[in-house]
Every structure is written in structure tokens, then in C-alpha cells.
Subunit: 385 residues, 2 copies
């Protein structure tokens, strides 16, 4: 029979085992990234990018802070890729919880059901790479109070309590994209947008440089060809389709563009689309709308034009960026689906990738949608052909 | 002070907690995929593909068996995507162990270091989706005995003990690709090849239909432009670069093509390349080499020609497949790297994506490399421009 001593020893042993399982930290933090080729070095394959001439100074990645807004099918994989690449700091924003209905996408696991996505993600990610610093916010950035908090974190959330380096939008709705857009226009901060269509077989990533490229209020950045009627999708009890493939690919494009942007290699693509049905990848670049509803966008456009005048060598670079792959775009845009339905607000064969609500509230003056800018976008797009 | 009863209760509680943590199986198996939109349904977002007209019968996915050969940076994510999509059965082949040096890619976690990749993968994946059946082989398929076992599993490894539906190659070396090629030519079994360059910034997926398209012995399927001298890469102590982005994207392309092939939607792309530096995506299709060294390939070519004669309506379909995106291919093939070195065996600016060993042994008669078929490929490629 058990004595008190035996039972106490058993309790102690079980508690130790539990603690080990819960908190097992398989390696201590690493001060300097090594390029040594040994099985125990988690950075050897990344540092090899330097030896191969792809990246000049890979270890720079440890100095950067990136915010990931939306930690769902795209955002969670985005955060994981950046974590495994050894980014300095990640700031995660989401207000959703993990559900079994998320298990058809990568990253979250069934035992995390019910946890907040930001908590579940940072637990897993800090276990995968303890060198990365995590800051998480379990909140909806579109409410007024939270929006102020969001702006503050972008402004002073870096490793050195200054501005962060990049905002990645991985959200799935119009209001949240508008909130990010408003914040980044106000701060003059670059952000990368991403999205996946509701039928799960197309997506895109887009670079928004306030003043230099179209912002989300200049024109909703994604108008895609689709056979789906958006208006039927967001009703209660009806859910969009999703695939781990499409979302993983879009996250891959988003982080690849992020690495190229932060570590200065290759070409940062302004807009990269992905059509899974035909494996078609449209690229384009959109100029800002001089009559954009967002006054901060107009201010940023003026600042950018002033910069162009004072730094004339930038002009050449800008001219290069306006290249449009017109054949791809023209041929494929209307051919994604064999069953394209009519849509009153945009041209035949096209519709908005995001639901534009009739009444938008809670995210500031520039959130309201505007039919005029849509028409302008359509005209701009027609002129590309 | 603790009484025996209190301690016994504590032990019981701790043991329950430990068991839950170690073996937590958050859901029981699901007999029929439901399209019900509730948070607890892991298949709602996949079944939505039917309602949206993308896939006719999504649940068919449960009838298929797919082999994943190589469970590294591409293969592990490939297996995870298929698992989350609810594939019927996965057969995993690898003989490597998880190391911290793998942590710069998705999927494996530090606490799995030292485990065999197939064991670590199937543990995680069967936890993520208990509906999928797993069969794992911790072995190198290129040795003679293991190759016979490999052939056998392809031939009788399906859910109904018959032929499996598809082989996915996610290996990182020439010999293993040749072994898969030899097996699939012999069996007349379709397989999809994948690869990522040693400098981590390009990759591809390719469909091999024995007799209909070029096999790996007809011509090594990937010749890429690169600045890396392959011969310097495989020496001891020197490792290739890798990125979670590129590998996740290639896995996404591979599984997307697999879903399209198995569930009959969209266009299955014969060859899709990915150049991360410029976001360029070449596509092409290669016909089989009538003088291929692999006699089984020649036999499959005859069978395919006989099928074409007896089913003339197939001819139209074949003609469509030979479309080559010549502009993309011609423009970009030599421009990936600014520092392209000469290579004696292939044209300037090009080299083999895989190391072709001087002396290949252990994987059958058709494994030897052949300069003639390389030259033929180069001629074929020149004629495409």
C-alpha cells in the first residue's frame, strides 16, 4: 500500500513530467546566428543564403519587427514562416478563437480549440523559435479604442520601441483592411495586403506604399474574376470555402515578398495574383487616386511627389514599377470560371473580392465605400488592356 | 498537511492531466463528411467547395491513397495539406531523422529532434486528422531490397489493397527520383515530381504520365538557370540553403495539382516553375523520348500510342497539352541570377537542378545518366524559343 512518502514522491514526479511536457524548451536562445553546418544549428540553411549570394546579410532579419493582422489560414502560416526565418519580433492581432472548423488549413491543431488564436499561435511559435520576441493582442482593431491602440503599437512597438518595419494584412474582411489602410496612411507606413477568394481557388498579395501606390481607399485592391456571388456568402450559417494549399501559397508569397523587402534581394512584386484553376499569376501596379477619400493618402501622395522632385533619381525606379503584364491580365481576368455571373457594380465577369458593406461604422472617416473610386479603378483597368 | 486521501486524489488528477496531454484525441473519427456550418465540423470549409461549384463530389477524397516519398521541407507540408484535406490514406517514405537544422522549414518542431521523420510526421498528422490512414516506411527506397518493397506498396497499398492513386516525389536527390521513375514506368503509374533549387529561390512541380509525357530518364525534368555550381554543394560540411516560403509554395502547388487531378477540377498543370527572385512562373510540357533508356518507358509509350489510335478523341486533348509559354520561358530562363556560371554539360546559363552522379548504383538498369538525352532535351528546349 502507498505511504505518504511514496505518494508525495509520485506527485513530485508527475508534476515534473507535466511541467516538462507543458514547457519543454528544447534549446536555449541563440545570441548570434551561426552558419556552421551541423544538425543542431537551426539557422545553417538560412545563413547559407549569404554564401550563395542571395542575401547580403541574413542576420539583419533579427533587427526587424513585423505586425501580422489576422492569424487565420494565411496569417498563422505567415507568422510561422517568419518565426522559422528568425525575424526579430512579431506583433500578432486577432480576436477569434481556434475551432475544429479551422483544421482544414495549416498550423492550428485540434487540442487548441477554444484558445484565442493569438495565444495559441504565440505558444506554438515561441516553442518553435525562442529567439523571436512575440507581442499579442487579442482584440478587434476596427473599434475606436482598439484602433488607437493599434496605431500606437505600429508606432512604438519595434524592438527599440520605435516604428515597426512592416504591417502584413491577413484579415478576411473589408472593415479590417480599411482600418489597416487608415492607420498606415496616417503613419506613412508601408504594408502588404493579402487575400484569398471565398471559393478558395484564387488569392493575391499586394504592396501598399502610401503616396506611391494605390491605397485600399483609392480602390479596393482586389477585383477578381469569379463565379461566386459575394452577397450570398456572408449570411449567417453560410461559410466560405477554404483550402490549405491556396492559403499556404498566398502566405508563402506574402512572406517571400517580406523577406525580399526587408533583406533587399530580388524584386518586390507590387501585386501578385494566383488563380489555382489555371495556374495563372497576374502582376500589376496601381497608382494612387489623386482624389482619394482618405486625406492622409492625399497628404502622402504630396509628400511622395515632393520626394520625387528632390530626389530625381527615384523617377527611373518608379517608371519601372508601372510595368503591367497586360497579356496575362487581359487574357485571364475573365476566364477563371466558366460560369461567370453578372454583377451590377463592376464590369461583366468581375466582382469585388471583398464584401463591401452598405453601412460601415467604427473605423474612422475613410472607411465608407465609394462607387466612384470603383469606377475609376475599372477605367484604369480597361486602359491596361 | 496532506492526508493519504488528498495525495491519492492529487495523483489521480495529475495522471489524468498527463494522459490528456499525451494522448489527447480531440475528436473521434467521422464516418461521413458533413457540410454543416458549425465550428465543430472540420470539413465544412472543404465541403463548401461543392456548394460553390468548384468540386463535384469532395468526399471522393476519402477513397484515394497517395504516397509521399521524402518527408522533408516539401514532403512534410505536402502530407500535412493532404491530411487536413481528408485524404483517405497516406503512405510515407523517408529514412532521415528530424534535426534542429530542419527548423527553418514548416512542420517539424524542435521536440521531435532525433525521431524518424516518418514517425514524427505520422504522429502529428494522425493527431490532426484521425480520419486519415497512415502507413510509414522508415527506409531508403533506392537500395535493391527496399526498392522491391516500394514497388509492392505502390501496387497493393491502397485502402482496398490495390494500386494506389498517385505517387508524389518530394525527395532531394537524383537517385531517389530515378528510383521513383523506374518504379512508376514499370507499373505504368502516374507520379508528380517536385523540387527546390539549392539556393532556395526557385522550384517546380511536374506531372509524369508514363508513355504520355517525358519521364525522368527521357530527360531530367528540371534544368534551371542558376548561379550555383552544383558540384560544390554536396561536399561534406557544405549545405544547401532553404526557405520555408519556397518549400511551402512548392508543396502548395504540388497538393493543389493533386487535388485537381484526383477530384477532377481546373487544369492539371504539366510543369509549373517558380522563380522567387522575379515572381516568374514558367509552364511547359515535354513529350517522351522515343529512345529513352528505360525500356519500361518505351513500353508505356507504345501502349499510349495504341490507346490514342483506339480512342482518337484523346488526340485533341493531347494537342492542347503541348502549349508552351515560350515568351516567359525564353525571357526568364537565363535571367534568374546575375552571376550565371558556365557549365560544360548544358548550355550557358543553364545547369542541372540535380547532381548527376558519375557512378550510380543500386537502383536498376535505367538509373545511369545519359549525355545524349540531355542534349536532346536542350535541342527540344531551343526549338521552343
Amino acid at each position: 500500500m502507498s505511504t505518504i512518502e511514496e505518494l508525495k514522491a509520485k506527485v513530485e514526479q508527475l508534476e515534473a513530467e507535466l511541467t516538462a511536457l507543458k514547457q519543454s524548451q528544447p534549446r536555449s536562445k541563440i545570441d548570434v546566428m551561426s552558419s556552421e553546418v551541423v544538425d543542431s544549428n537551426p539557422y545553417s540553411r538560412l545563413m547559407a543564403l549569404q554564401r550563395m549570394g542571395i542575401v547580403k546579410n541574413y542576420e539583419n532579419i533579427r533587427t526587424f519587427t513585423v505586425a501580422v493582422v489576422g492569424v487565420g489560414g494565411v496569417g498563422s502560416v505567415t507568422a510561422e514562416m517568419l518565426t522559422r526565418c528568425g525575424i526579430g519580433k512579431l506583433i500578432l492581432f486577432d480576436y477569434d478563437t481556434v475551432e475544429l472548423a479551422n483544421m482544414n488549413r495549416l498550423f492550428f491543431q485540434p487540442h487548441q480549440s477554444g484558445l484565442s488564436k493569438v495565444k495559441a499561435a504565440s505558444d506554438t511559435l515561441s516553442f518553435i523559435n525562442p529567439d523571436v520576441q512575440f507581442e499579442v493582442h487579442n482584440m478587434n482593431i476596427t473599434t475606436i479604442d482598439n484602433f488607437d491602440k493599434f496605431i500606437e503599437r505600429l508606432n512604438i512597438g519595434s524592438l527599440k520601441n520605435g516604428r515597426i518595419d512592416l504591417v502584413l494584412s491577413c484579415v478576411d474582411n473589408f472593415e479590417a483592411r480599411m482600418a489597416i489602410n487608415t492607420a498606415c496612411n496616417e503613419l506613412g507606413m508601408n504594408w502588404f495586403e493579402s487575400g484569398v477568394s471565398e471559393n478558395a481557388v484564387s488569392g493575391h498579395v499586394q504592396v501598399v506604399l502610401p503616396g506611391e501606390t494605390a491605397c485600399f481607399a483609392c480602390a479596393p485592391p482586389l477585383i477578381v474574376a469569379t463565379g461566386i456571388d459575394e452577397k450570398t456568402l456572408k449570411r449567417d450559417g453560410v461559410c466560405a470555402a477554404s483550402l490549405p494549399t491556396t492559403m499556404g501559397i498566398v502566405a508563402g508569397f506574402l512572406v517571400q515578398n517580406t523577406l525580399k523587402y526587408l533583406l533587399d534581394f530580388g524584386t518586390v512584386t507590387k501585386y501578385l495574383g494566383y488563380n489555382a484553376m489555371q495556374d495563372f499569376f497576374p502582376t500589376m501596379s496601381l497608382k494612387p487616386n489623386p482624389s482619394c477619400d482618405d486625406r492622409h493618402c492625399q497628404k502622402q501622395q504630396k509628400l511622395y511627389q515632393e520626394k520625387l522632385v528632390s530626389q530625381p533619381q527615384r523617377v527611373v525606379e518608379v517608371a519601372e514599377e508601372v510595368i503591367v503584364h497586360e497579356d496575362d491580365w487581359g487574357i485571364e481576368l475573365v476566364s477563371e470560371s466558366a460560369d461567370v455571373k453578372e454583377n451590377k457594380s463592376v464590369a461583366e465577369g468581375l466582382e469585388l473580392a471583398y464584401t463591401v458593406p452598405d453601412d460601415v461604422s467604427g473605423a474612422g472617416e475613410s472607411v465608407a465605400t465609394d462607387d466612384v473610386s470603383l469606377e475609376e479603378l475599372m477605367n484604369a483597368m480597361k486602359s491596361l488592356k
